[in-house]
Protein backbone atom coordinates (compact mmCIF):
# COMPACT_ATOMS: atom_id res chain seq x y z
CA UNK A 1 0.00 0.00 0.00
CA UNK A 2 1.40 3.37 -1.00
CA UNK A 3 1.93 5.89 1.74
CA UNK A 4 0.10 9.13 1.09
CA UNK A 5 2.61 11.50 -0.53
CA UNK A 6 3.65 14.48 1.52
CA UNK A 7 2.65 17.76 -0.12
CA UNK A 8 5.50 19.72 1.45
CA UNK A 9 8.10 17.35 0.02
CA UNK A 10 6.58 17.65 -3.44
CA UNK A 11 6.49 21.39 -3.12
CA UNK A 12 10.17 21.37 -2.26
CA UNK A 13 10.94 19.15 -5.26
CA UNK A 14 8.93 21.49 -7.53
CA UNK A 15 10.79 24.47 -6.09
CA UNK A 16 14.13 22.92 -6.94
CA UNK A 17 12.94 22.17 -10.41
CA UNK A 18 11.59 25.66 -11.05
CA UNK A 19 14.70 27.23 -9.57
CA UNK A 20 16.92 25.14 -11.84
CA UNK A 21 14.79 25.94 -14.83
CA UNK A 22 14.89 29.66 -14.12
CA UNK A 23 18.66 29.76 -13.70
CA UNK A 24 21.21 27.06 -14.37
CA UNK A 25 22.29 25.75 -11.00
CA UNK A 26 25.53 26.98 -9.51
CA UNK A 27 27.87 24.43 -8.03
CA UNK A 28 26.71 25.43 -4.55
CA UNK A 29 23.07 24.92 -5.56
CA UNK A 30 23.85 21.53 -7.04
CA UNK A 31 25.47 20.56 -3.75
CA UNK A 32 22.52 21.84 -1.74
CA UNK A 33 20.16 19.93 -4.02
CA UNK A 34 22.29 16.81 -3.57
CA UNK A 35 22.14 17.19 0.22
CA UNK A 36 18.40 17.54 0.06
CA UNK A 37 18.09 14.44 -2.15
CA UNK A 38 20.34 12.38 0.10
CA UNK A 39 18.72 13.43 3.35
CA UNK A 40 15.48 11.50 2.92
CA UNK A 41 14.29 8.76 0.55
CA UNK A 42 10.98 10.59 0.26
CA UNK A 43 12.86 13.54 -1.24
CA UNK A 44 14.37 11.32 -3.91
CA UNK A 45 10.98 9.76 -4.60
CA UNK A 46 9.36 13.19 -5.02
CA UNK A 47 12.18 14.32 -7.27
CA UNK A 48 11.84 11.17 -9.36
CA UNK A 49 8.15 11.91 -9.70
CA UNK A 50 8.95 15.40 -10.93
CA UNK A 51 11.37 13.98 -13.47
CA UNK A 52 8.90 11.35 -14.58
CA UNK A 53 6.39 14.09 -15.26
CA UNK A 54 8.93 15.97 -17.34
CA UNK A 55 10.03 12.88 -19.18
CA UNK A 56 6.54 11.80 -20.17
CA UNK A 57 5.57 15.26 -21.29
CA UNK A 58 8.77 15.40 -23.29
CA UNK A 59 8.10 12.27 -25.33
CA UNK A 60 6.23 13.61 -28.30
CA UNK A 61 7.94 15.20 -31.29
CA UNK A 62 7.91 19.00 -31.34
CA UNK A 63 6.68 19.58 -34.90
CA UNK A 64 3.15 18.87 -33.69
CA UNK A 65 3.23 21.99 -31.61
CA UNK A 66 2.75 24.50 -34.40
CA UNK A 67 -0.62 23.13 -35.40
CA UNK A 68 -1.85 23.32 -31.86
CA UNK A 69 -1.03 26.93 -31.30
CA UNK A 70 -3.85 28.03 -33.60
CA UNK A 71 -6.52 26.30 -31.58
CA UNK A 72 -7.20 28.72 -28.78
CA UNK A 73 -6.90 28.02 -25.13
CA UNK A 74 -10.15 26.75 -23.75
CA UNK A 75 -10.01 24.29 -20.90
CA UNK A 76 -10.76 21.27 -23.07
CA UNK A 77 -8.09 22.32 -25.46
CA UNK A 78 -5.47 22.28 -22.76
CA UNK A 79 -5.07 18.58 -23.19
CA UNK A 80 -4.69 18.74 -26.89
CA UNK A 81 -2.22 21.55 -26.59
CA UNK A 82 -0.27 19.68 -24.00
CA UNK A 83 -0.18 16.64 -26.20
CA UNK A 84 1.12 18.65 -29.05
CA UNK A 85 3.48 20.64 -26.97
CA UNK A 86 5.07 17.68 -25.32
CA UNK A 87 8.62 17.65 -26.48
CA UNK A 88 9.22 21.32 -25.91
CA UNK A 89 10.43 23.19 -22.91
CA UNK A 90 9.85 20.58 -20.28
CA UNK A 91 13.08 18.74 -20.68
CA UNK A 92 14.86 20.90 -18.17
CA UNK A 93 16.83 24.07 -18.35
CA UNK A 94 19.16 24.73 -21.16
CA UNK A 95 22.36 23.38 -19.75
CA UNK A 96 24.38 24.61 -22.69
CA UNK A 97 24.16 28.11 -21.42
CA UNK A 98 25.97 27.72 -18.18
CA UNK A 99 29.15 26.10 -19.34
CA UNK A 100 30.70 28.64 -21.63
CA UNK A 101 29.17 31.74 -20.15
CA UNK A 102 31.74 34.40 -19.48
CA UNK A 103 34.07 32.86 -22.04
CA UNK A 104 32.40 34.30 -25.09
CA UNK A 105 35.38 36.50 -25.83
CA UNK A 106 38.09 33.94 -25.17
CA UNK A 107 40.67 33.55 -27.94
CA UNK A 108 40.29 29.80 -28.15
CA UNK A 109 37.69 27.59 -26.60
CA UNK A 110 36.06 24.19 -26.73
CA UNK A 111 32.51 23.15 -25.91
CA UNK A 112 31.52 20.32 -23.65
CA UNK A 113 32.81 17.05 -25.12
CA UNK A 114 35.13 18.77 -27.64
CA UNK A 115 38.91 18.77 -27.86
CA UNK A 116 41.18 20.97 -29.90
CA UNK A 117 44.87 21.24 -30.79
CA UNK A 118 46.62 24.55 -31.37
CA UNK A 119 50.06 25.39 -32.62
CA UNK A 120 51.24 28.82 -31.53
CA UNK A 121 53.62 31.21 -33.29
CA UNK A 122 56.62 29.99 -31.27
CA UNK A 123 55.93 26.36 -32.18
CA UNK A 124 54.34 25.55 -28.82
CA UNK A 125 51.47 23.12 -28.93
CA UNK A 126 48.42 23.43 -26.74
CA UNK A 127 45.71 20.83 -26.46
CA UNK A 128 42.41 22.03 -25.06
CA UNK A 129 40.25 19.51 -23.23
CA UNK A 130 36.47 19.66 -22.91
CA UNK A 131 34.79 22.95 -21.94
CA UNK A 132 37.99 24.97 -21.94
CA UNK A 133 38.76 28.60 -22.75
CA UNK A 134 42.14 30.32 -23.07
CA UNK A 135 43.58 33.64 -24.15
CA UNK A 136 46.95 33.82 -25.82
CA UNK A 137 49.05 36.97 -25.63
CA UNK A 138 52.58 37.04 -26.89
CA UNK A 139 54.56 40.27 -26.66
CA UNK A 140 58.27 41.12 -26.91
CA UNK A 141 58.86 40.31 -23.24
CA UNK A 142 56.79 37.21 -22.59
CA UNK A 143 54.54 34.45 -23.86
CA UNK A 144 51.40 34.36 -21.73
CA UNK A 145 48.51 31.90 -21.77
CA UNK A 146 45.54 32.76 -19.64
CA UNK A 147 43.48 29.72 -18.67
CA UNK A 148 39.94 30.98 -18.11
CA UNK A 149 38.42 27.57 -17.50
CA UNK A 150 39.00 23.92 -18.26
CA UNK A 151 42.17 21.94 -18.86
CA UNK A 152 45.13 22.23 -21.19
CA UNK A 153 48.25 20.24 -22.01
CA UNK A 154 51.17 22.34 -23.15
CA UNK A 155 54.26 21.31 -25.08
CA UNK A 156 56.46 24.37 -25.22
CA UNK A 157 58.12 25.23 -28.50
CA UNK A 158 61.47 23.84 -29.56
CA UNK A 159 62.32 26.85 -31.71
CA UNK A 160 64.64 28.39 -29.15
CA UNK A 161 62.36 31.26 -28.17
CA UNK A 162 63.99 33.02 -25.19
CA UNK A 163 60.91 34.82 -23.86
CA UNK A 164 59.53 33.29 -20.64
CA UNK A 165 56.42 31.15 -21.04
CA UNK A 166 53.67 31.67 -18.45
CA UNK A 167 50.26 30.19 -17.77
CA UNK A 168 48.00 32.28 -15.54
CA UNK A 169 45.00 30.77 -13.77
CA UNK A 170 42.62 32.22 -11.18
CA UNK A 171 44.97 30.89 -8.52
CA UNK A 172 48.37 31.99 -9.70
CA UNK A 173 51.11 31.72 -12.27
CA UNK A 174 52.98 28.77 -13.71
CA UNK A 175 56.23 29.18 -15.58
CA UNK A 176 57.34 26.58 -18.05
CA UNK A 177 60.98 25.63 -17.87
CA UNK A 178 61.29 23.95 -21.29
CA UNK A 179 58.65 21.36 -20.87
CA UNK A 180 55.43 19.39 -21.31
CA UNK A 181 52.84 19.92 -18.59
CA UNK A 182 49.14 20.05 -17.88
CA UNK A 183 47.09 22.75 -16.17
CA UNK A 184 43.52 22.27 -15.00
CA UNK A 185 41.40 25.05 -13.54
CA UNK A 186 39.19 23.45 -10.86
CA UNK A 187 36.43 25.31 -9.08
CA UNK A 188 38.52 26.14 -5.99
CA UNK A 189 42.06 25.51 -7.14
CA UNK A 190 44.42 24.80 -10.01
CA UNK A 191 45.89 21.36 -10.67
CA UNK A 192 49.22 21.11 -12.44
CA UNK A 193 51.19 18.07 -13.52
CA UNK A 194 54.57 17.81 -15.24
CA UNK A 195 55.39 15.17 -17.83
CA UNK A 196 58.80 16.45 -18.99
CA UNK A 197 61.37 18.79 -17.49
CA UNK A 198 60.18 21.28 -14.89
CA UNK A 199 57.76 24.08 -14.10
CA UNK A 200 57.61 26.65 -11.33
CA UNK A 201 54.38 27.48 -9.52
CA UNK A 202 53.59 30.79 -7.86
CA UNK A 203 50.26 31.18 -6.04
CA UNK A 204 48.88 34.68 -6.58
CA UNK A 205 48.71 35.81 -2.93
CA UNK A 206 51.81 34.04 -1.68
CA UNK A 207 54.96 36.14 -1.53
CA UNK A 208 57.46 33.38 -0.83
CA UNK A 209 59.51 31.95 -3.67
CA UNK A 210 57.85 29.85 -6.33
CA UNK A 211 58.15 26.10 -5.93
CA UNK A 212 59.56 23.84 -8.59
CA UNK A 213 57.83 20.70 -9.82
CA UNK A 214 59.79 18.08 -11.74
CA UNK A 215 58.70 15.53 -14.33
CA UNK A 216 56.30 12.99 -12.84
CA UNK A 217 55.12 15.40 -10.15
CA UNK A 218 51.84 17.18 -9.74
CA UNK A 219 50.20 19.46 -7.17
CA UNK A 220 47.05 21.45 -6.47
CA UNK A 221 47.28 25.08 -5.48
CA UNK A 222 45.01 27.99 -4.73
CA UNK A 223 45.81 31.66 -4.25
CA UNK A 224 47.47 31.09 -0.87
CA UNK A 225 48.65 27.50 -0.65
CA UNK A 226 50.36 24.77 -2.58
CA UNK A 227 49.28 21.27 -1.63
CA UNK A 228 51.58 18.29 -1.24
CA UNK A 229 53.33 17.08 -4.34
CA UNK A 230 51.85 13.87 -5.72
CA UNK A 231 52.91 11.54 -8.53
CA UNK A 232 51.66 12.55 -11.96
CA UNK A 233 51.51 9.89 -14.66
CA UNK A 234 50.90 10.16 -18.38
CA UNK A 235 47.61 8.26 -17.92
CA UNK A 236 46.26 11.47 -16.39
CA UNK A 237 46.45 13.15 -19.76
CA UNK A 238 44.90 10.18 -21.58
CA UNK A 239 42.16 12.64 -22.54
CA UNK A 240 44.46 13.84 -25.31
CA UNK A 241 43.71 10.46 -26.92
CA UNK A 242 40.06 10.65 -26.01
CA UNK A 243 40.43 8.22 -23.14
CA UNK A 244 39.93 8.11 -19.42
CA UNK A 245 42.17 5.57 -17.69
CA UNK A 246 41.50 4.70 -14.07
CA UNK A 247 42.85 2.09 -11.69
CA UNK A 248 40.84 1.16 -8.62
CA UNK A 249 39.18 4.57 -8.58
CA UNK A 250 35.99 5.54 -6.70
CA UNK A 251 33.01 5.36 -9.04
CA UNK A 252 31.94 8.77 -7.73
CA UNK A 253 35.21 10.31 -8.97
CA UNK A 254 34.95 8.54 -12.32
CA UNK A 255 31.39 9.74 -12.79
CA UNK A 256 32.40 13.26 -11.88
CA UNK A 257 35.18 13.07 -14.46
CA UNK A 258 32.84 11.69 -17.14
CA UNK A 259 30.45 14.52 -16.30
CA UNK A 260 32.95 17.00 -17.68
CA UNK A 261 32.50 15.52 -21.14
CA UNK A 262 28.74 15.68 -21.39
CA UNK A 263 26.10 18.29 -20.84
CA UNK A 264 23.75 18.17 -17.95
CA UNK A 265 23.85 16.45 -14.62
CA UNK A 266 25.24 13.04 -13.82
CA UNK A 267 23.93 12.15 -10.41
CA UNK A 268 25.41 9.30 -8.41
CA UNK A 269 23.93 8.16 -5.11
CA UNK A 270 26.04 7.75 -1.98
CA UNK A 271 26.30 3.98 -2.02
CA UNK A 272 27.21 3.79 -5.69
CA UNK A 273 29.85 6.49 -5.24
CA UNK A 274 32.08 4.25 -3.13
CA UNK A 275 32.20 1.35 -5.57
CA UNK A 276 35.63 0.72 -7.10
CA UNK A 277 36.30 0.67 -10.79
CA UNK A 278 39.26 0.14 -13.13
CA UNK A 279 39.42 0.46 -16.88
CA UNK A 280 39.93 2.50 -20.00
CA UNK A 281 36.90 4.46 -21.15
CA UNK A 282 36.12 6.33 -24.35
CA UNK A 283 35.32 9.95 -23.63
CA UNK A 284 33.53 10.51 -26.92
CA UNK A 285 30.75 8.07 -26.05
CA UNK A 286 29.95 8.53 -22.39
CA UNK A 287 26.54 6.92 -22.87
CA UNK A 288 28.31 3.72 -23.90
CA UNK A 289 30.63 4.04 -20.90
CA UNK A 290 27.63 4.31 -18.59
CA UNK A 291 26.11 1.23 -20.20
CA UNK A 292 29.39 -0.67 -19.67
CA UNK A 293 29.57 0.40 -16.06
CA UNK A 294 26.02 -0.77 -15.55
CA UNK A 295 26.92 -4.14 -17.03
CA UNK A 296 29.91 -4.64 -14.75
CA UNK A 297 28.83 -3.03 -11.48
CA UNK A 298 25.78 -3.39 -9.22
CA UNK A 299 24.31 -0.11 -10.40
CA UNK A 300 21.20 1.16 -12.16
CA UNK A 301 21.64 3.92 -14.70
CA UNK A 302 18.45 5.82 -15.41
CA UNK A 303 17.93 8.54 -17.99
CA UNK A 304 15.33 11.11 -17.08
CA UNK A 305 16.27 13.29 -19.95
CA UNK A 306 19.38 13.37 -22.08
CA UNK A 307 20.62 15.95 -19.65
CA UNK A 308 19.86 14.25 -16.41
CA UNK A 309 21.19 10.81 -15.61
CA UNK A 310 20.89 9.13 -12.23
CA UNK A 311 23.12 6.31 -11.09
CA UNK A 312 22.14 4.30 -8.04
CA UNK A 313 23.36 1.22 -6.25
CA UNK A 314 21.07 -1.64 -7.29
CA UNK A 315 21.63 -4.04 -4.41
Amino acid sequence: MAIAPDRQVFEAAASWYVQFQADPPTLAEQKAWQLWIDSDPAHLAAWNQMEQLQRHLGTLPPDLKRRALNTGQQRRQVLKLLLLAAGTGFVGWNVQQHTSQGNVWADYKTGVGQRRNLTLADGSQIQLNTDTAIDVSFDPTQRLIRLRSGEILIQTGKLGDQRPFFVDTRDGRIQALGTRFSVHQLSESTRVGVLEDRISVQPADLSTAAIILNAGEGADFDRRHIGLTHPFKSTEVAWTNGQLIVLNARLGDVIEELGRYRRGVLHCDNRARDLRVSGTFRLDSTDAVLANLQASLPIDVRYFTRYWVSISHSA
Partner: protein, 168 residues
Protein backbone atom coordinates in the same frame (compact mmCIF):
# COMPACT_ATOMS: atom_id res chain seq x y z
CA UNK B 1 -8.34 0.36 12.19
CA UNK B 2 -7.84 -3.38 12.03
CA UNK B 3 -7.82 -4.95 8.63
CA UNK B 4 -10.54 -7.52 9.38
CA UNK B 5 -12.92 -4.76 10.52
CA UNK B 6 -12.20 -2.87 7.32
CA UNK B 7 -12.79 -5.90 5.10
CA UNK B 8 -15.92 -6.85 6.98
CA UNK B 9 -17.31 -3.33 6.56
CA UNK B 10 -16.64 -3.45 2.83
CA UNK B 11 -18.32 -6.79 2.46
CA UNK B 12 -21.36 -5.36 4.12
CA UNK B 13 -21.37 -2.25 1.94
CA UNK B 14 -20.91 -4.39 -1.12
CA UNK B 15 -23.84 -6.65 -0.32
CA UNK B 16 -26.16 -3.80 0.49
CA UNK B 17 -25.20 -1.18 -2.11
CA UNK B 18 -23.39 -2.70 -5.06
CA UNK B 19 -26.45 -3.22 -7.22
CA UNK B 20 -27.69 0.26 -6.36
CA UNK B 21 -24.33 1.71 -7.41
CA UNK B 22 -24.32 -0.31 -10.62
CA UNK B 23 -27.82 0.89 -11.50
CA UNK B 24 -26.94 4.50 -10.69
CA UNK B 25 -23.84 4.30 -12.91
CA UNK B 26 -25.72 2.63 -15.75
CA UNK B 27 -28.09 5.58 -15.77
CA UNK B 28 -25.14 7.97 -15.99
CA UNK B 29 -22.93 6.12 -18.43
CA UNK B 30 -25.43 4.45 -20.79
CA UNK B 31 -23.09 1.53 -21.08
CA UNK B 32 -23.39 -1.57 -18.94
CA UNK B 33 -19.73 -2.54 -19.32
CA UNK B 34 -18.45 0.88 -18.30
CA UNK B 35 -20.85 0.92 -15.37
CA UNK B 36 -19.64 -2.47 -14.17
CA UNK B 37 -16.00 -1.32 -14.52
CA UNK B 38 -16.55 1.86 -12.59
CA UNK B 39 -18.49 0.06 -9.87
CA UNK B 40 -15.65 -2.39 -9.55
CA UNK B 41 -13.03 0.40 -9.47
CA UNK B 42 -15.04 2.20 -6.82
CA UNK B 43 -14.80 -0.75 -4.47
CA UNK B 44 -11.11 -1.20 -5.24
CA UNK B 45 -10.62 2.44 -4.28
CA UNK B 46 -12.51 2.00 -1.02
CA UNK B 47 -10.62 -1.17 -0.26
CA UNK B 48 -7.36 0.71 -0.60
CA UNK B 49 -8.54 3.56 1.61
CA UNK B 50 -8.76 1.31 4.71
CA UNK B 51 -11.40 3.36 6.44
CA UNK B 52 -14.54 1.45 5.48
CA UNK B 53 -15.74 0.99 9.05
CA UNK B 54 -15.95 4.78 9.41
CA UNK B 55 -18.26 5.26 6.46
CA UNK B 56 -21.57 6.57 7.78
CA UNK B 57 -23.49 7.20 4.58
CA UNK B 58 -22.36 4.43 2.20
CA UNK B 59 -24.38 5.60 -0.80
CA UNK B 60 -23.12 9.19 -0.59
CA UNK B 61 -19.64 7.91 -0.20
CA UNK B 62 -19.91 5.45 -3.07
CA UNK B 63 -21.44 8.09 -5.31
CA UNK B 64 -18.67 10.58 -4.52
CA UNK B 65 -15.91 8.11 -5.28
CA UNK B 66 -17.70 6.82 -8.38
CA UNK B 67 -18.33 10.35 -9.67
CA UNK B 68 -14.61 11.07 -9.43
CA UNK B 69 -13.87 7.89 -11.34
CA UNK B 70 -16.42 8.75 -14.03
CA UNK B 71 -14.85 12.18 -14.47
CA UNK B 72 -11.43 10.51 -14.70
CA UNK B 73 -12.88 8.21 -17.31
CA UNK B 74 -14.23 11.07 -19.42
CA UNK B 75 -11.00 12.88 -18.97
CA UNK B 76 -9.06 9.86 -20.11
CA UNK B 77 -11.35 9.33 -23.09
CA UNK B 78 -11.02 12.94 -24.14
CA UNK B 79 -7.27 12.72 -23.83
CA UNK B 80 -7.08 9.47 -25.74
CA UNK B 81 -9.21 10.98 -28.49
CA UNK B 82 -7.01 14.07 -28.63
CA UNK B 83 -3.97 11.84 -28.73
CA UNK B 84 -5.28 9.74 -31.60
CA UNK B 85 -6.35 12.84 -33.53
CA UNK B 86 -2.93 14.34 -33.09
CA UNK B 87 -1.11 11.25 -34.19
CA UNK B 88 -3.47 10.74 -37.13
CA UNK B 89 -2.88 14.31 -38.30
CA UNK B 90 0.83 13.76 -38.61
CA UNK B 91 2.17 13.30 -42.12
CA UNK B 92 4.25 10.25 -41.27
CA UNK B 93 3.27 7.52 -38.93
CA UNK B 94 4.73 8.17 -35.52
CA UNK B 95 6.37 5.24 -33.87
CA UNK B 96 5.20 5.46 -30.30
CA UNK B 97 4.99 2.20 -28.42
CA UNK B 98 1.79 1.21 -26.63
CA UNK B 99 3.67 1.45 -23.38
CA UNK B 100 4.85 4.99 -24.07
CA UNK B 101 1.37 5.92 -25.21
CA UNK B 102 -0.08 4.66 -21.94
CA UNK B 103 2.49 6.64 -19.98
CA UNK B 104 1.88 9.81 -21.97
CA UNK B 105 -1.85 9.53 -21.46
CA UNK B 106 -1.40 8.77 -17.78
CA UNK B 107 0.69 11.90 -17.41
CA UNK B 108 -1.76 14.03 -19.36
CA UNK B 109 -4.67 12.80 -17.28
CA UNK B 110 -2.77 13.84 -14.18
CA UNK B 111 -1.80 17.20 -15.66
CA UNK B 112 -5.35 17.85 -16.80
CA UNK B 113 -6.71 16.95 -13.42
CA UNK B 114 -4.17 19.14 -11.68
CA UNK B 115 -4.89 22.10 -13.96
CA UNK B 116 -8.61 21.69 -13.46
CA UNK B 117 -8.10 22.29 -9.76
CA UNK B 118 -5.94 25.39 -10.22
CA UNK B 119 -6.85 29.02 -10.76
CA UNK B 120 -6.83 30.55 -14.26
CA UNK B 121 -3.56 32.36 -13.56
CA UNK B 122 -1.71 29.15 -12.74
CA UNK B 123 -3.24 27.44 -15.78
CA UNK B 124 -2.17 30.26 -18.04
CA UNK B 125 1.37 30.39 -16.71
CA UNK B 126 1.77 26.64 -16.86
CA UNK B 127 0.60 26.62 -20.46
CA UNK B 128 2.79 29.49 -21.54
CA UNK B 129 5.75 27.68 -20.09
CA UNK B 130 4.90 24.21 -21.34
CA UNK B 131 3.15 24.90 -24.62
CA UNK B 132 4.77 28.03 -25.90
CA UNK B 133 8.11 27.14 -24.40
CA UNK B 134 8.45 30.62 -22.92
CA UNK B 135 11.03 31.27 -20.26
CA UNK B 136 9.80 32.44 -16.86
CA UNK B 137 11.26 35.86 -17.61
CA UNK B 138 9.29 36.13 -20.86
CA UNK B 139 6.09 35.08 -19.12
CA UNK B 140 6.62 37.66 -16.39
CA UNK B 141 7.07 40.39 -19.01
CA UNK B 142 4.08 39.30 -21.05
CA UNK B 143 1.69 39.07 -18.10
CA UNK B 144 3.23 42.07 -16.35
CA UNK B 145 3.82 40.16 -13.15
CA UNK B 146 6.98 39.56 -11.18
CA UNK B 147 9.33 36.67 -11.85
CA UNK B 148 8.63 35.47 -8.32
CA UNK B 149 4.91 35.26 -9.11
CA UNK B 150 5.57 33.20 -12.22
CA UNK B 151 7.75 30.80 -10.28
CA UNK B 152 5.19 30.55 -7.50
CA UNK B 153 2.46 29.53 -9.95
CA UNK B 154 4.77 27.05 -11.68
CA UNK B 155 5.70 25.45 -8.36
CA UNK B 156 2.03 25.15 -7.47
CA UNK B 157 1.13 23.57 -10.82
CA UNK B 158 4.04 21.14 -10.81
CA UNK B 159 3.35 20.14 -7.22
CA UNK B 160 -0.28 19.32 -8.04
CA UNK B 161 0.67 17.36 -11.16
CA UNK B 162 3.30 15.31 -9.35
CA UNK B 163 1.03 14.67 -6.35
CA UNK B 164 -1.72 13.37 -8.57
CA UNK B 165 0.71 11.17 -10.48
CA UNK B 166 2.11 9.81 -7.22
CA UNK B 167 -1.34 8.87 -5.98
CA UNK B 168 -2.17 6.74 -9.00
Amino acid sequence: MSLPAHTAAIEQIYEQHHSWLYGWLKGKLHDACDAADVAHDTFVRILAARNAAHIREPRDYLATVARGLVIDRYRRKAIEAAYLQTVAARPQATAISEEDKALIIETLVAVDKALAGLGPRSQQIFMLSQIDGRTYQQIALQLKVSLTTVKKHMIRALTECALIMAQH
